[in-house]
């Protein structure tokens, strides 16, 4: 980690230095190869001797020429393996079979192994040699002690023997440290394109060993190449090493025979044993494809061989093909590329799925298949159902009429006139004679057509053109208004559609803001806000789920992209999209609206127009106005140079009609213009409000002609008439006009007051109105009233009047009096005060009368009666026969004196309520099962004997709101049998079922046609007609 920065520094040197150092190195191993080997073998015994050993080894290695070195390095992790291969091959070639060192090697691999470890790390992470070395040192000491003694251990060590070469690498590392040689950058390796990332081969020493054995068995082409190189390089210095390796080899063979269990390694070895020796690269035969250029090919032709030919080609088509074949290729390559991986890839076989699951999967697949098959009929079914989706004949949605109406050949459509005439064949004498006559007179349809054509042909073409132009002009004139109206309508609809869409686009799908929804929720207790939020959440989650916005998404984004230049188009676009999306989401998080999107929308919505620079509602409005104006201009221009017309169009009635149409079109246009203007004003108003909160005017009810000024305009109090606006005065008078007496009064008295601009609202009681009402009510008695009370008294009386008014419903009296009363507007107030008194005395009188009555009844009754009596008296008095009537009532009252029927009824009702109310019954038998007497505890089982009777709470009763009605809550048990216990099948609620009940079917409830409709069978078959099977391709 400390040295991570170093590699790049040392790397450039590597090729050059190796070259320079080559000759010097070459000599060293040749002289002291055997010594070095022995020294190397002895080195681990001294523990930390790795460093001292290393340089020598490097020298030995240094003989390798730069190209081969480079190729070694470039193999990356596989390099060590290659090295060991080299060694072994070397041994083979040289025929070295050294003996004595073998015993010694029991120690040697220790150090070698360390070397190997360090090498691995090197390849993976760059250079870490120092740390590794120290680790190795420790490890070697630890490991060394136990292994020294036993021979078996030594033999096990021998498995790791081939990594002696890696020890050489270790040396090399040191060498690199000093000279910066022998390393290439990982990126460089990648560039070379032969980077083999298969780790499995260098997992352990045993693997190397196995590889070695493999190589021994199979003489691959590459190995042979290396052979030649190595052959030339190694002269004598490696002899010892070679013999050592040979020794190991022999040892290994022994071990194979032993079958000693050594975990995985031994297992793998065992497998190797099975392979028989081969003399040829692949079995020869006429069916064997000869294409084996890599070592482990067993003569079979695989996909890779075929693909390799265009692996590097830049042809896009080939690239596409490569892509499609990729899964196949990848499936074949691992087995072919490495010799060991097939063991790993095919582990234990996956257990078959449980039958149930398998069935489910099968069913799903079958369903898909069947659906696919049946979906082919969809079009046919849809056509048969017709436009409405209810069936060919609308209401006959559940009915099928055979033969089908839409079916070909079964159509019983009556041909039209042209068809008739074309097909017509005379069948009887009359027809044939008529036809012959027509033929004779050249009056048949074809003859007529011909005649027309010839007539046209005979005319001068210029003449014809002029005539056509004239006709066109007349047509234009006739339908001008119509066209204009259409155009105006189009402008209008376009503008409004745009605005609507804008509003919609702003606020999601529902087109309403959350606040609005909340408002609506509050109104009816729904959960629109929650739903909306949920919807938005889901939408957001979906968007995020694509991962297209983030750098985490996509395979390409995982690699380090320097910039966008190096990428091909596909990636480039993907990256761009990602960035765009990311930006959009960010914007949304910030709560911004994307303006460009709306602009796009505008553009796509209106392709014929140029892109609107102002996209707001204002823009739309202005544009619509412009369009309208241009239309008007065109019209005006047309009207200006309108030629004098003649013919039918020139006649008066036609002109009138045209004018009428014009008027109508003009009306529409002006209306649209007005609306647009109003819209504009509103927009301006909105701006004003934003800018100056103190603006004091407000439009009234969206009417551009009405504005309200003043402080009250800010809040929503409606229609405050102001002195600044004389137009509002009539409106106040209209509100008052219901009391006809007041209308002149209000106007005359209001004008001086109105300068104060007292804010009044409609729900507030109009003092003038109130005065008038009270005045009109009391006016009759006012004549008798004494005036001149002091103001305090008057106010007290007024209070009483109000109270009395609320208690008594005297509207009818007021109504009566309205007719007779006339009032002087000047003394409204005074009279109101004064007239209060007699009104108060009236009820007291009544009360007295009620008290004087013979019965003492409930107050309600009293009140009612007293009012009744009052009315009766008045009524009788009016008719002049009051005395008699009064006497009779007295008599009746007396007759039923003491009949406390109302009280009795109320008591009865109370009893009924109590009877039905939910209650608990105590069924305890006192003294039963418990002790009685003083100090006796209450039995704990007392609760057992209390039965709860769930009745009906008084508030839940049907008659809860009535005073004079008792509705029994007793169940009609006999009627229970007519009720259903379960909901009948197709219905999901009682309401649906009752809907069915309310739709009776029978001659008593509907007319015969309806009944026939209702009882028509679901499949109707026309008799005597062949019914062909439905073809799905009709």
């Amino acid at each position: 980690m400390v040295r991570t920065g170093r590699q790049p520094r040392t790397q450039p040197q590597s090729t050059t230095t190796t070259k320079s150092s080559k000759p010097s190195k070459k000599s060293k191993p040749s002289t002291s190869s055997k010594k070095a080997a022995s020294a190397a073998l002895s080195a681990p015994s001294t523990g930390l001797d790795v460093y001292s050993y290393a340089p020598r080894k490097t020298k030995a290695r240094g003989d390798v020429d730069p190209e081969s070195r480079a190729s070694f390095q470039s193999k990356g992790k596989g390099k060590r393996q290659q090295a060991s291969e080299d060694e072994e091959e070397d041994d083979e070639l040289m025929g070295f079979r050294g003996g004595g060192i073998v015993e010694f090697t029991g120690v040697k691999p220790k150090g070698l192994k360390m070397g190997m470890d360090s090498d691995e790390e090197f390849v993976g992470e760059g250079d870490e040699d120092e740390e590794i070395d120290s680790d190795e040192a420790e490890e070697s000491e630890d490991d060394f002690k136990p292994k020294k003694g036993g021979k078996t251990k030594a033999s096990s060590r021998s498995n790791a023997q081939p990594s002696a070469e890696i020890d050489l690498d270790e040396d090399e590392i040191d060498f690199d440290d000093e000279q910066g040689e022998g390393f290439i950058d990982a990126s460089e390796m990648l560039d070379m394109g032969v980077y083999d990332s298969d780790d499995s081969e260098i997992d352990s020493g045993s693997d190397d060993g196995s590889d070695a054995s493999d190589d021994e068995e199979m003489a691959s082409a590459s190995a042979s190449d290396d052979d030649s190189e190595v052959d030339s390089e190694y002269e004598g210095a490696l002899d010892k090493l070679g013999s050592f390796v040979e020794q190991l080899e022999s040892r290994k063979r022994k071990n194979e025979g032993d079958d000693s269990p050594f975990g995985d390694d031994s297992g793998k070895k065992k497998k190797r044993v099975v392979l028989k020796e081969r003399t040829e690269a692949y079995p020869e035969g006429e069916f064997v494809a000869v294409g084996a250029h890599d070592g482990e090919d067993d003569g079979k032709l695989n996909l890779d061989d075929l693909l390799s030919s265009f692996a590097d080609s830049k042809n896009p088509r080939l690239a596409a093909l490569r892509k499609t074949l990729k899964p196949l290729a990848s499936s074949t390559t691992p087995s072919s590329s490495t010799s060991t991986s097939h063991l790993k890839s095919s582990g234990p076989l996956a257990a078959p799925l449980p039958g149930r699951l398998q069935d489910k999967i099968d069913r799903e697949a079958a369903y898909e298949k069947t659906k696919e098959e049946t979906d082919k009929w969809n079009e046919t079914v849809r056509r048969m159902k017709g436009e409405s989706g209810l069936g060919v004949e609308g209401a006959r949605h559940e009915r099928l009429t055979l033969p089908l109406m839409g079916g070909e050949g079964d159509v019983r459509r009556a041909p039209n006139a042209a068809e008739w005439s074309a097909k017509f064949q005379p069948t009887n004498a009359l027809e044939s004679s008529i036809q012959s006559l027509l033929h004779a007179g050249a009056m048949s349809s074809s003859d007529l057509r011909k005649a027309e054509a010839t007539a046209l042909a005979s005319l001068d073409p210029a003449d014809v053109a002029a005539r056509q132009a004239e006709l066109r002009q007349q047509r234009d004139l006739m339908y001008r208004a119509e066209r204009k109206a259409k155009r105006v309508a189009k402008i209008k609809s376009k503008a409004f559609r745009r605005i609507h869409r804008k509003a919609k686009g702003k606020e999601g799908d529902s087109g309403l803001s959350l606040e609005d929804l909340e408002e609506m929720d509050r109104m009816d207790g729904g959960d629109r806000v929650g739903e909306e939020q949920n919807r938005m959440e889901i939408q957001r989650a979906r968007e995020r789920a694509t991962l297209k916005h983030s750098s985490k998404g996509g395979r390409w984004s995982r690699t380090d992209i320097g910039g966008l230049e190096g990428l091909d188009d596909e990636r480039n676009s993907a990256v761009r999209e990602m960035v765009k999306r990311n930006e959009m989401l960010r914007k949304r998080i910030r709560g911004e609206q994307e303006g460009e999107e709306s602009a796009d929308e505008w553009a796509e919505g209106d392709s014929e127009d140029e892109l609107g620079e102002e996209v707001g509602v204002e823009g739309i409005r202005r544009r619509a106005m412009d369009e309208l104006k241009s239309l008007e201009d065109k019209e005006a221009a047309f009207a200006a140079n309108q030629p004098k017309v003649k013919g039918v169009v020139g006649m008066k009635f036609m002109q009138d009609a045209i004018k009428r149409g014009d008027r109508k079109a003009l009306l529409e246009a002006t209306e649209l213009q007005e609306r647009l203007e109003r819209m504009g004003e509103q927009a301006v108003k909105g701006l004003d409000e934003e800018e100056s909160p103190l603006s004091l005017s407000e439009q009234v009810q969206g009417n551009s002609g009405r504005r309200v000024f003043g402080p009250s305009s800010g809040n929503k109090s409606i229609a405050t008439p102001s002195s600044a606006e004389p137009a509002s005065l009539p409106s106040t008078s209209t509100t008052n006009h219901t009391t006809k007496l007041n209308a002149p009064l209000s106007i005359s008295t209001r004008s001086p007051l109105s300068t104060n601009a007292t804010p009044t609202s409609t729900d507030e009681s109009n003092p003038w109105l109130a005065d008038a009402a009270s005045a009109s009510k009391l006016s009759r008695k006012s004549n008798k009233a004494t005036v001149g009370k002091d103001s305090r008294d008057a106010s007290r009386l007024a209070d009483k009047v109000a109270r009395h008014k609320s208690r008594q419903s005297d509207a009818r009296e007021a109504e009566q009096d309205d007719a007779t009363v006339d009032i002087d507007p000047s003394n409204v107030l005074a009279s109101a005060k004064a007239k209060a008194q007699p009104q108060i005395t009236a009820p007291s009188k009544e009360k007295k009368k009620g008290a004087a009555g013979p019965t003492t009844k409930a107050t309600m009754e009293e009140d009612e009666r007293s009012s009744d009596e009052d009315d009766e008296e008045q009524h009788e008095a009016q008719r002049g026969r009051g005395q008699l009537a009064f006497k009779q009532r007295e008599l009746v009252a007396r007759a039923f004196a003491g009949d406390n029927v109302v009280a009795d009824f109320e008591a009865e009702k109370r009893r009924e309520i109590e009877r039905d109310a939910p209650r608990e019954e105590d069924n305890t038998l006192p003294g039963w099962g418990s002790w009685g007497g003083k100090g006796a505890k209450k039995s704990k089982h007392a609760k057992k004997f209390i039965t709860k009777i769930p009745g009906i709470a008084p508030s839940a009763r049907q008659d809860a709101t009535f005073t004079n009605v008792i509705i029994s809550e007793k169940k009609d048990k006999k009627a229970q049998k007519y009720l259903l216990k379960d909901l009948p099948f197709p219905y999901t609620s009682a309401a649906q079922h009752e809907h069915k009940l309310r739709t009776p079917m029978g001659p008593e409830w509907s007319t015969s046609t309806i009944l026939r409709d209702q009882t028509l069978p679901s499949v109707l078959i026309k008799p005597g007609v062949t019914i062909r099977p439905v073809d799905k391709k009709v």
């Binding site: 996956a350 809907h995 007319t1007």
Partner: protein, 563 residues
């Protein structure tokens, strides 16, 4: 050919489109019902003339319809109509009760002093005339003109068309009022004893017998819509009865004095009821919300009231008969009755009973000195349904109808306030089901104590037999033993739970999977388990380290032990 158009399908019954077929069905129902309604309206408009309801109209504002006398009407009307106005002078046998058959063809009158007469009044043919020689209080036709019942001094008797006594109903004692429910074949009577009795005239059984507990009852009416019997009582209440419930379904405090008469408006399906009190008040009620629509005060007690088929209200008070057309019109005084449509006065005799003749503009009035048939233009329904009641039916048709109506007889227990009750869903059952079903909103869990033993055990999570005895002989055991037992139980449960707690779901899942099956999920599970173990280990270590750090026993380097 008429088909329900798509635009008729307004109400989407199935909102969620969960069941397309059902949705279609319901929409078809809606459209069918709507089309049916529209069609029948069209049909009625086409066939029935609504332009002239047959009412008398004034030519100018100064004219009053009630000023028109019967003589003038008779004079100015056609002979066929004029012949409908007649009068029977039967002065000696006292005030007469009146009844028409359902088709309005036959008339029966019963004098208080035992004079009974039945007629085919259209043709003026007398069916029977008998002198009972005892009090006859009321007379009613049964299902048609072949039988009639008379409430006599002691019992109710049934006579046939010829006046031959057929039955003596001994169960009905001192009956004052009778009603016949034509669709149920029930004769309902009420009398001085205050018992309401229902007699099935097709089977002869006494169907129901109810005690009103309100003393003698003189007033009775039936609701033609739901076949309820309305009784007016001495204490001013009106009670509504059905034969299947022994108590009045509704009691209404209508008047403060005795109720003198009740009538229900057939034109509004019985939703309008008029009651008159002895104190002279007349109240028009809405029987749906039991509210007074109009209230009038008469100078004399209205003795009898009747609604015509077209909604004219006739009131007999004193020796007057007033027929009211427009009850809604407010008078000058709210309690003053509106100006009548027609009036008639019987000089010297009080009106006793009156009925509008069905399908005819005739009001039959029984009074002290006989019977008078008054012509009230626009009173009767002009269009009759011959399947229901045919004024011109012949002998064969009558027989057929009798058989048909017997076959279609409605059981008495179908008489309920809710006329559309039959076939509805039983709310009680629904409620009970909801209470049981935990998925329903009305679900109420039974309290622990009320559960069965098995359920209780299940609730405890220990469904074993060894606990049997402790619930049995609980009471005998002394406190200590019980406590010990409880303790033991708790411990046992505890132990069990602890054992259970050892298991993680993950392990359980692993155990469930067969060991020898190696599939990705198993591998993943194993790995997860491993990770969990490691995490717990680390957590433990951390906790330990923290603890030691907190207690100060940690070594100098222990702080690096955190992971």
């Amino acid at each position: 050919m008429y088909g329900a158009r798509p635009e008729l399908v307004q109400k989407n019954w199935v909102k969620s489109q969960s069941d397309k077929k059902l949705g279609h069905h319901l929409n078809a129902l809606s459209s069918s019902a709507k089309a049916s309604g529209m069609k029948s309206h069209e049909h009625d408009d086409l066939l029935l003339d609504h332009s002239n309801s047959g009412l008398m109209e004034t030519e100018n504002e100064m004219e009053r319809t009630w000023k028109v006398k019967q003589d003038e009407i008779v004079e100015s009307s056609a002979i066929a109509t004029a012949s409908k106005a007649f009068s029977l002078k039967l002065e000696e046998f006292g005030p007469y009760a009146v009844d028409y058959t359902r088709n309005g063809r036959h008339l029966a009158i019963a004098g208080r002093k035992g004079h009974i007469g039945t007629f085919d009044w259209h043709s003026g043919r007398l069916h029977a005339e008998i002198q009972l020689k005892e009090t006859a209080r009321a007379i009613r036709w049964l299902h048609d003109e072949s039988f009639f019942a008379v409430a006599q001094k002691q019992y109710v008797y049934i006579y046939d068309k010829d006046g031959l006594e057929v039955h003596q109903l001994r169960n009905h004692v001192e009956v004052t009022q009778m009603e016949f429910l034509p669709y149920h074949f029930l004769l309902a009577t009420v009398g001085n004893a205050g018992y309401l009795k229902y007699q099935d005239t097709s089977t002869g059984q006494l169907v129901a017998e109810m005690r009103t507990k309100l003393g003698s009852c003189q007033t009775m009416a039936q609701n033609p819509h739901n076949a309820f019997i309305h009784l007016g009582h001495q204490n001013g209440t009106v009670s509504l009865w059905s034969p299947s419930v022994s108590k009045p379904q509704v009691q209404l405090q209508a008047h403060r004095g005795p109720v003198s008469s009740i009538a229900l408006d057939p034109s509004t399906l019985g939703t309008r009821m008029v009651t008159t009190g002895v104190d002279g008040t007349v109240k028009v009620w809405d029987t749906r919300k039991w509210a007074v629509l109009n209230e009038y005060q008469f100078k004399k007690t209205p003795k009898t009231a009747a609604w015509s088929q077209k909604g004219l209200l006739g009131l007999g008070w004193g020796n007057h008969v007033s027929v009211f057309k427009d009850l809604q019109r407010p008078g000058q005084n709210p309690r003053m009755p509106p100006p009548p449509y027609m009036t008639h006065t019987f000089p010297g005799t009080a009106v006793n009973d009156m009925r509008f003749c069905p399908f005819d503009d005739v009001l039959g009035v029984g009074h002290g000195s006989g019977f008078t048939s008054l012509i009230i233009p626009g009173a009767g329904e002009a269009n009759f349904d011959s399947l229901e009641a045919d004024p011109f039916e012949g002998k064969r048709r009558r027989r057929e109808r009798e058989v048909n109506s017997l076959l279609d007889k409605i059981p008495f227990d179908m008489i309920t306030l809710d006329t559309e009750m039959v076939g509805k869903l039983d709310t009680n059952v629904m409620k009970a089901e909801e209470r049981i079903n935990p998925d329903k909103p009305g679900y109420k869990e039974t309290p622990y104590a009320q559960k069965t033993r098995l359920d209780r055990l299940k609730a405890d999570g220990e469904h074993q037999e060894d606990e049997e005895e402790d619930s049995e002989d609980d009471e005998d055991e002394d406190e200590e033993r019980r406590k010990a037992k409880k303790q033991a139980r708790v411990e046992k449960a505890d132990a069990k739970k602890r054992a259970r707690g050892r298991n993680s779901t993950l392990k359980k899942m692993l155990r469930k999977r067969r060991r020898n099956v190696v599939d990705p999920q198993t591998v993943a599970l194993k790995e997860k388990l491993e990770r969990q173990r490691a995490a717990t280990k680390i957590a433990k270590q951390n906790a330990l380290a923290q603890k030691s750090a907190a207690s100060g026993t940690a070594g100098a380097l222990d702080r690096f032990g955190f992971k």
